[in-house]
């Protein structure tokens, strides 16, 4: 009788694909002694001073709703942090909106701007929820290819090639989960010019900015004509190791912030006050902890990228994020088969690249946010597996 209920389910939800991550998670869940390189979050717990601030907030009885936009003290800290580190100025009174993670920010941004059928350009491979979030907002996703030849950087030429009439929004994630891809300044500048030319709104998810190891992180909103057409998204999950707190934010000109706020206030009301209090502490005193974690990730990156290339699964060196995205085609296997067999034969979990989009075929995502001994052991097992495929 189960199919009976399907008649109640909305067409566009039925049309949503199941997350490839979810499938893989279920496969891993039944197994023992797996070394997982499939975890898209830091292995550090939130720095103690941030946790302590949340405990203090609870002790003081801070258990109520906040303003829909979020605590003004937090919005001031966000405004100052974004100005200092990204070169973008936003008024904390009406241009900063605190959300339940960047995922919510992404959702309300799209829901606030899309009419049914509006097209959204997004890079591929990309974070698993990008395309589904567009679909849930009744938009139509248009993928922009990024590839290993250019280290998965976002290139202006590809953006232009993918553009088609009706593209209202360009949605980018730089640095990118799962590829670690970024965009060079001159490419980003050209992309910005193109966005102005085609009058596109840009939604820029910069959640991995703090995990930049080489080169500068450039925000697309800093180019001429861009501030007024950019929604800047950021949050605490990655840089401050605060995934479970669910705390993010959107910064945008007043009219856009106001529109997102409408969706936010009727669905979420506000982010958890305890998380917001912790966020204030993170921005005021968290720089040192962020730096320490970045340095640890960088050394782990050097280790896995070097080992992958030795093993014979070619891997570009991502200049940001804690993901490596090696090419596994030398094994003669496709992404899903590689990941499944590696899991079954060597108990190492990596996520097939196709979970992140069609251009992820031939790749797997390796999260190196795990301890050295696990990484060393995992690389040895991967080596054994790759050799067995020859």
């Amino acid at each position: 009788m189960s199919e009976d209920q399907n008649r109640f389910i909305a067409d566009h939800v039925i049309g949503l694909p199941r997350s490839g991550i979810r499938d893989f998670f279920e496969l891993v869940a039944g197994m023992k002694d797996v070394i997982s390189l499939g975890i898209g979050e830091p292995d550090f717990t939130t720095p103690w001073h941030i946790r302590e601030a949340a405990i203090y907030a609870l002790e003081k009885g801070r258990t109520f709703y906040t303003s829909n936009l979020g605590l003004i003290e937090l919005r001031r800290e966000i405004s100052s942090y974004v100005g200092r580190n990204f070169g973008l100025e936003y008024n904390p009174q009406n241009e900063v909106l605190v959300t339940v993670g960047v995922s919510e920010a992404m959702d309300i941004a799209l829901r606030a701007v899309l009419n049914p059928g509006d097209k959204v350009l997004y890079q591929d491979p990309c974070f698993v929820s990008y395309h589904p979030t567009v679909m849930l907002a009744h938009g139509v996703g248009v993928a922009i290819k990024t590839d290993a030849e250019s280290a998965f950087t976002l290139r202006a030429e590809e953006v232009k090639k993918s553009w088609e009439p009706g593209c209202k929004v360009l949605m980018i994630n730089l640095p990118c989960n799962p590829t670690g891809g970024v965009a060079e300044r001159k490419e980003l500048e050209e992309i910005a010019k193109f966005a102005v030319e085609k009058d596109m709104l840009v939604i820029s998810d910069e959640i991995y900015a703090e995990m930049t190891y080489e080169g500068e992180h450039v925000s697309i909103g800093t180019f001429p004509g861009m501030r007024e057409r950019t929604i800047f998204l950021h949050g605490f999950s990655k840089g401050w190791a605060m995934t479970g707190w669910r705390l993010g934010y959107a910064c945008a000109p007043v009219a856009l912030t106001e529109a997102m706020m409408k969706v936010h206030q009727y669905s979420m009301m506000c982010a958890s006050i305890i998380a917001q209090d912790a966020g204030i502490e993170a921005l005021r005193n968290g720089d040192e902890a962020v730096k320490k974690m970045r340095q640890a990730y960088q050394r782990r990156r050097d280790l896995v990228v070097r080992r992958f290339n030795e093993i014979g699964i070619a891997c570009h060196k991502p200049s940001a994020t804690f993901y490596a995205f090696p090419n596994i085609t030398s094994t003669g296997l496709d992404s899903v088969t590689f990941a499944k067999r590696l899991l079954e034969e060597e108990s190492v979990a990596m996520v097939p690249g196709t979970a992140f989009g069609k251009y992820g075929e031939g790749f797997v995502r390796c999260s190196f946010a795990t301890s050295y001994d696990q990484l060393v052991e995992a690389c040895n097992r991967i080596e054994r597996f790759v050799n067995s495929c020859k």
């Binding site: 898209g40 292995d43 050394r299 280790l303 070097r306 050295y372």
Partner: protein, 160 residues
């Protein structure tokens, strides 16, 4: 600072071979960098961090505030160095504030520490006074938390 140092500073226990593997160096290169750290006296040596709550050889520890007379040549150095040389002295620091040296002393029993202070330390020419504070319980030792519940690092196996 060299790569080996940065890795050591992260605090994981790694042998030379593991460090070589992580850093992409040969074992000889790791050894050379370690030797350079010792040469510069940046790395003083290796000792295990023991739990004072469980290790009987550390049955008694005391922090001793010591006032001493500075000397015309060298100030506090000569006396501080002399005091540091006793095996009983675990660490010794020159302090600002109400006293001059903070001396951490360990011993098998209260009696042994007390006699070290009264017979050896206070009798040194130039030591004006001592105030001994016995440590009652350790909550954190050299960066390690003691007898506190472990963190529940329950990450899911696969997440986006």
């Amino acid at each position: 600072m060299n790569e080996v140092f940065k890795l050591l500073a992260e605090g994981e226990r790694l042998n030379d071979r593991q460090m070589a593997e992580i850093l992409g160096l040969s074992v000889e290169e790791v050894e050379a960098q370690l030797a350079a750290l010792k040469e510069k006296e940046l790395l003083l040596g290796w000792i295990p961090v023991l739990n004072p709550e469980k290790d009987d050889s550390l049955a008694v520890r005391a922090a001793i505030e010591v006032k001493i007379t500075p000397e015309r040549d060298g100030g506090f150095n000569r006396l501080a160095q002399r005091i540091s040389r006793f095996d009983e002295v675990e660490s010794c620091y020159l302090m600002s504030g109400g006293y001059d040296l903070l001396v951490v002393v360990k011993g098998a029993s209260l009696h042994k520490v007390a006699s070290f202070v009264s017979e050896r330390l206070s009798t040194i020419e130039g030591v004006l006074s001592t105030a001994t504070h016995f440590m009652l319980r350790a909550y954190k030792e050299q960066g390690y938390l003691i007898e506190q519940p472990a963190e529940d690092k329950a990450r899911l196996d696969v997440t986006p």
